[in-house]
């Protein structure tokens, strides 16, 4: 059957479901009715969607770390520490990389090896292997809502287990958890698999259980221009909404230029409202998430604190609903709980100091917003055209044609023709547009701005400039300097 953005038929869903639950023994632990009953008993203060909506209403920005270790009790200890010592408003459970690739056998070895060496040998929490009861133990051990964060092209089993396990929010999407996170998974397949995920969430919603869904905004985290991540976010929002998702948090990864970043967060919300409205999804609550710089970090912890704090400041000035927090260990490895809590505390200090200081919409900010909107619309409209009005189909075809293209992505289903580079003020622009369907007017803006930088640096824009920009923040700058 051809891929399309249509709500999955429930019987068909149940059929697929058998296979999914059979793919690893813990799948048998999931009893959907019992899961709904369990979820319905979770108090409001542990429900993600509620807390986000409340924050949106109050105009504040919540702080959420990333965190996950191999063993259940260590993971609980970690989350409690981040809640109590870090002051995290929202908590994560970051899933390990084997689980993300459905390699549960390797995850199992990782669990066992972690037990025997006494430290986590996995880069996250293998929720599938641990199963439903362990997940419930995790979410019940803390006083704030917990989200599953991962990077899994086929996340169906993980979703079944973690939602039955009491998590109230779930990150990912058929594009955002494929293109940056896989090499060989056809987009059509991952979109289908995520339709399953969204359908399951939609089912919980039908039963009165709100589960927050969050497409992964930053993609490869490295010089991704807002229009690219916005396009993906809005596509995934449309896909999710069709399956019945009602609480959506759309994300964007900090680029570093304040005007561009604030414009990005605000335009993202506005564009999402626009497209969801246009396609008739009127009862979806949209919130936003701002990711502190997702690319290479400085090794020095003090400098990392500078990057973290500037991310927090931007999130607050943009009035994102939540901010995902980096840590002073970022460049080195998975953070200790202490380093993780330190990142949250620095972030919260800045968030609190800036909570009543949204950036005013001055002219340059408005034009940046308009630029991002024009770019994003250009991409989305072309994708719709490619899909004969169907965004799912259009997306698959559009990625093939490079109409939408993610810089530095490992996937072979991504054209990989874009070359992003910073302009003179550090905003991310495009040096090579690949096949993006931009008009000359838009292209001229990019060319002009990069030219201005080239002039200031006395060099022609080139791949070397891109490399310099990739290293820049790690080396204590924003705009990469010529050697």
């Amino acid at each position: 059957m051809q891929l399309s953005n249509k709500k999955l038929d429930w019987d068909q869903f149940l059929q697929i479901r058998q296979e999914v639950l059979n793919s690893w023994p813990t799948g048998q632990e999931v009893d959907l009715e019992e899961a709904v009953a369990y979820q319905s008993r979770i108090p409001a203060y542990r429900r993600f969607a509620e807390k986000l909506e409340q924050a949106k209403k109050e105009g504040i920005t919540l702080a959420q770390p990333r965190a996950g270790v191999a063993l259940v009790h260590e993971h609980i200890e970690l989350l409690r520490y981040l809640q109590d010592e870090g002051g995290a408003d929202l908590l994560p459970t970051t899933i390990d990389s084997y689980t993300r690739q459905n390699r549960y056998q390797e995850a199992q070895s990782g669990i066992e090896e972690s037990r025997s060496v006494g430290r986590s040998m996995l880069n996250g929490f293998p929720a599938v292997n641990h199963g439903v009861a362990a997940c419930r133990e995790v979410v019940e051990s803390v006083k704030v809502p917990v989200q599953v964060r991962h990077g899994t092209p086929d996340a169906r089993l993980l979703t079944e287990i973690t939602l039955a396990g009491g998590f109230t929010a779930y990150e990912g999407g058929g594009i955002s958890y494929n293109i940056p996170y896989a090499k060989d998974v056809p987009l059509e397949r991952s979109i289908r698999d995520w339709q399953y995920v969204d359908r399951l969430v939609g089912y919980y919603e039908e039963r009165g259980i709100s589960i927050n869904r969050e497409p992964f905004g930053p993609l490869t985290g490295t010089l991704v221009p807002p229009c690219i991540s916005h396009s993906v976010a809005i596509i995934e929002a449309l896909l999710a909404a069709e399956q019945g998702v009602k609480s959506l948090t759309l994300g964007y990864g900090q680029c570093g230029n304040l005007t561009q970043d604030v414009a990005a967060v605000r335009s993202l919300e506005e564009l999402a409202e626009e497209y969801l409205g246009r396609f008739g999804y009127h009862d979806v609550v949209i919130t936003t998430v701002f990711h502190q710089w997702m690319g290479g970090f400085p090794q020095d912890e003090s400098k990392a604190f500078g990057v973290i704090s500037w991310g927090a400041a931007t999130a607050a000035m943009a009035k994102a609903t939540k901010v995902i927090v980096k840590t002073p260990h970022e460049a080195m490895g998975i953070p200790t709980k202490e380093a993780n809590a330190a990142g949250i505390r620095a972030t919260k200090q800045v968030l609190n100091m800036l909570k009543d200081q949204p950036l005013v919409e001055f002219k340059e900010l408005q034009s940046e917003k308009e630029l991002i909107k024009a770019e994003t619309r250009a991409i989305l409209e072309k994708l719709l055209e490619f899909g004969d009005g169907d965004i799912a189909l259009g997306t698959v075809r559009g990625f093939q044609a490079g109409i939408i293209d993610v810089p530095f992505a490992p996937s072979r289903y991504n054209a990989g023709r874009l070359l992003p580079a910073r302009d003179y003020q550090g905003a991310v622009r495009l040096l090579d547009f690949g096949n993006l369907p931009f008009g000359e007017e838009i292209k001229e803006v990019h060319r002009e701005k990069i030219k201005q930088r080239g002039k200031a640096e006395g060099r022609d824009p080139s791949f070397q400039m891109v490399i310099d920009d990739i290293y820049a923040i790690g080396k204590g700058m924003l705009v990469g300097k010529p050697r």
């Binding site: 990389s97 084997y98 993300r100 690739q101 390699r103 390797e106 070895s109 990782g110 090896e113 430290r119 986590s120 040998m121 996995l122 880069n123 990077g151 940056p180 996170y181 896989a182 090499k183 060989d184 490869t220 490295t222 690319g295 290479g296 090794q299 260990h329 460049a331 080195m332 490895g333 998975i334 953070p335 200790t336 380093a339 530095f408 992505a409 490992p410 791949f463 490399i467 990739i470 790690g474």
Partner: protein
Amino acid sequence: MEEEKKQLTLVLGVIGADVHAVGNRILEYALTEAGFKVVNIGVMASQEEFINAALETDADAILVSSLYGHGEIDCRGLREKAIEAGIGNIKMYVGGNLVVGKQDWAEVEKKFLAMGFDRAYPPGTMPQQAIDDLLRDFGFTQKC
């Protein structure tokens, strides 16, 4: 010299379930610019893919990246596979964020050298470092 360097063929890749593609792309660019023949097998490469690529291209060295933390598990046995394949003497370098968490580098290095790597590199190593070491290890010291 330029000529001699060209003869060095390097297999480059990111091992395991690791998808960190940015460093790999830069390493490919920098090593190619430096005159090496680079066979880049990309991200999510298995041990077998490394060995096969080395065999097929008669490579002089294998450069393994691991960023995501599972390097310790993923890299174990690579040297043994090389020996089995009859290229036991091939130079093997490894770099990235090799283990889970911020750990003492001397310990980590020891661990990877013990696994059979000729050199191991800490987080944030610049490509030039690998280039210099390659030239040195293959006897081009004077010329650069």
